[in-house]
Symmetry: D2
Subunit: 262 residues, 4 copies
């Protein structure tokens, strides 16, 4: 049987990334408090392709994934990238897992426990010299109260849900929980799945005592990330679903430089 992919390329241009996109796969991810938790990921797997080859072998990406235990920790993640790079005879391999992650929250007064979900993405690229660059992204829903509305209205102020998205390049063991907590602490108030009457009172008052523009939220988050020892680069984005409009307020800060870390 003919191996069409190994034919010479018609147009000899190197391809930056080629592979499979949008596979779903069950994962066991590391949980700071409980050891691990089950989730379901959307997976992308890519390699580079030199100018001389017509095509890559798409089924090998899927084989590598199907052989993967689904236990997502640092050694397995790096092995998976090595496996892809090797099986595809490539110089670079790229891997992305996007998944919902649950972190229990305690309501502020009643201490009622409930699960909140956060969209997370773990991204990695392994080069020919075995250097691994890893990126973690979390999307943290929060609440903002508008300082301007609060200052000018005789009564009340508009509030809304706002999504704080933190993407960072990191080294070492960075917990999802740390990024989630940075996101939560940056806005007027965290959001919760379960709030009893006394909690709703507290959350409302806390948010109104801590009114924030998207500008404030993005700076608060950037400030926390700036000082983090495991984080080499970050991009924080905040999108606030303004309740008085049908459009959103947005702000972003990208860390300017790769800083030396201990």
């Amino acid at each position: 049987v003919q191996d069409v992919q190994n034919n010479p390329a018609g147009i000899p241009l190197a391809i930056d990334r080629v592979g499979v996109k949008g596979l779903r796969y069950p994962l066991l991810v590391q949980d700071r408090d409980q050891g691990h938790q089950h989730t379901i990921a959307r997976v992308d797997l890519f390699v580079d392709l030199p100018a001389k080859f017509k095509g890559t072998h798409m089924s090998r990406f899927v084989e590598v994934l199907q052989d993967f235990s689904g236990i997502l920790d640092y050694p397995n993640f790096k092995n998976l990238l090595r496996e892809i790079r090797g099986r595809l005879q490539a110089r670079r391999a790229h891997l992305s897992f996007g998944f919902p992650y649950f972190m229990p929250q305690r309501a502020p007064i009643s201490a009622s426990r409930s699960l909140m979900d956060y969209e997370c993405t773990l991204n990695g690229e392994l080069d020919a010299h075995d250097n691994l660059r890893m990126y973690l992204r979390v999307k943290v829903p929060t609440m903002t109260v508008c300082p301007c509305s609060l200052a000018i209205a005789d009564n009340g102020a508009h509030s809304q849900r706002a999504l704080v998205s933190i993407n960072c390049r990191f080294h070492g063991m960075l917990w999802l929980e740390e990024l989630i907590e940075i996101g939560q602490a940056s806005a007027s108030c965290p959001v919760y799945s379960l709030l009893k009457r006394e909690d709703e009172k507290q959350v409302t008052e806390q948010a109104f005592d801590n009114a924030c523009f998207v500008e404030d939220v993005v700076r608060n988050a950037a400030n926390s990330l700036q000082g983090h020892k495991l984080i080499d680069w970050y991009l924080v984005e905040v999108e606030s679903f303004e309740s008085i409009h049908n459009h959103n307020a947005y702000a972003c800060i990208e860390s300017v430089a790769q800083r030396a870390k201990d």
Copy 2:
């Protein structure tokens, strides 16, 4: 050349709806104030298929649409349905146009004018006896302030964007603007694209003076639709994107009976 579609069906079951889905087409829709406005629709075109035929002729749906002037008024809409029913040799034809529609809003104090967009859908079904059933749906973004939060908090109350979706079967000339206005009037406050400082003060205060649960909003809208002379059936749904949670509050009312209308 063989006409495969006219072969007998392998399994002689009647098909309720068959056709094309997700075509985009530019439209000129009727605007209460300006005569008409340009928009772009997502279009579905279906017919029924008797048990004896293997297939319908998909390209004819597209031909009918391409021949359509794009001017969406009652006679053209009915003619389009007749044309589909005829060209496809069917008993029933079904047609759906979904499109954004702009309605200018005036800010409450400064009277600054800005455009707000609303997702609208016009749906029609024409039967073998030329009876036409028409449905209009609008999605109206609004603002809600939580009455519970307002009652219990010493300061403030959480507010959020809420989407009021009104679907109705109607006869006669029902303006999109009428449904939009019903949606806007049902919640704590309408939302606007452009609000200056003095408007933001007014909108905040108005919303706080008119705190609404989703239950209140859905009842307000149902109450307005109940009395409307051109409306034969309705379904109102309200979804409020709670700013203290990452989930939504929801309520719906469907009109119970087809009422006789003058």
Copy 3:
């Protein structure tokens, strides 16, 4: 502290459904072959609300869900509905879990095993007399080869992915796997995550030997559902993402009558 929700309604209209929408929650669902599998659901929880009450108590829905073990079987599902109905002092309770479900597939020649995911929804409504109506929906990706293109072209025929969506009301123990298998068997060929060269050859040839319009696919599925002992009503929809167009072909059949079942 005031209980605003128990105030009389301003407009005394009964509300069909009111509750929370879009919560996420981890589940353990029943798996025909392996006993169970972990997944993550999007959850809606609703009750009816009589005309006399101003509001329902949204936090109670979340409390009931947070107390739920997450083990999704018939007794737990019914108990959850009873719990909601009771805690919310309602006459009817409605519950919906939407989740991805994995079913391993064997490639046709190499027998390579890989996981395929299917979007599933379990829906239930419990009335005041403890009657439970249950609905199961699965979305099954498949492949279609166009019979018309095959008949008229000297070489080849266009093929594409097509989504078979089966929604049914059922009684007894209906496995997700049964509905998935009905969907897969209705089109030109199932789709797989992992196909080696010899499998790709087989899948291509099988699909070309079994060319299907959406009309054929929807009838094949309806025919299988029609005869199913546990199914009391069904709606099959097929949407084929035509590779020669940027729009889709669509067909649906709804079962006409509730049939008596043994």
Copy 4:
């Protein structure tokens, strides 16, 4: 009335982009053949914010947009950016319009005319020295036939819709139509809204005579863009919705260097 935004920032960090996101606005865009066409855009408007200011003035972005004629040509686009930069007292302004664009296509044999829509985005950034960087992106649906499947199967080959996404930085007058045509010419065959029987035969045969991996498609497109006089940088991405799988094949090429142009 207090101007909260002009207060000093609590945390003096410069913000890269701040503004409004997701506004919709009607546009008149330039059409190579007809002069212009009506469309509806999703609009983002951002500026930078120096470290010393607490907030920007969100309503001014909307004011600038509402004052815009909607006629999207080069002078108006640059003026709009200048207006934003000036009104917001910023150093840099950023603007993005995303909109569907129609280009009529002729079926290859019958010459039947039909409208095809393409998702387009025009992006611009104006710096403090009045340098304008402009980006144009088009998403072009096409058809791919798998060369491997064609080589190994005794009969047929799988085909599918594939999306070619071209993003480029350009100078001068670059027509949307040029990018669309590059995308269409890169795959096995363009797709059409309306194909009669004789056209479907032709399209099928043409696609089968021109089987393409995503690797071929991305190189074909890159090759055309590489030589284009108005294009200073590009990123081509191809995503093919494999009909034998439920996941997609993907490839991308980013132009390596900013090349000197005439």
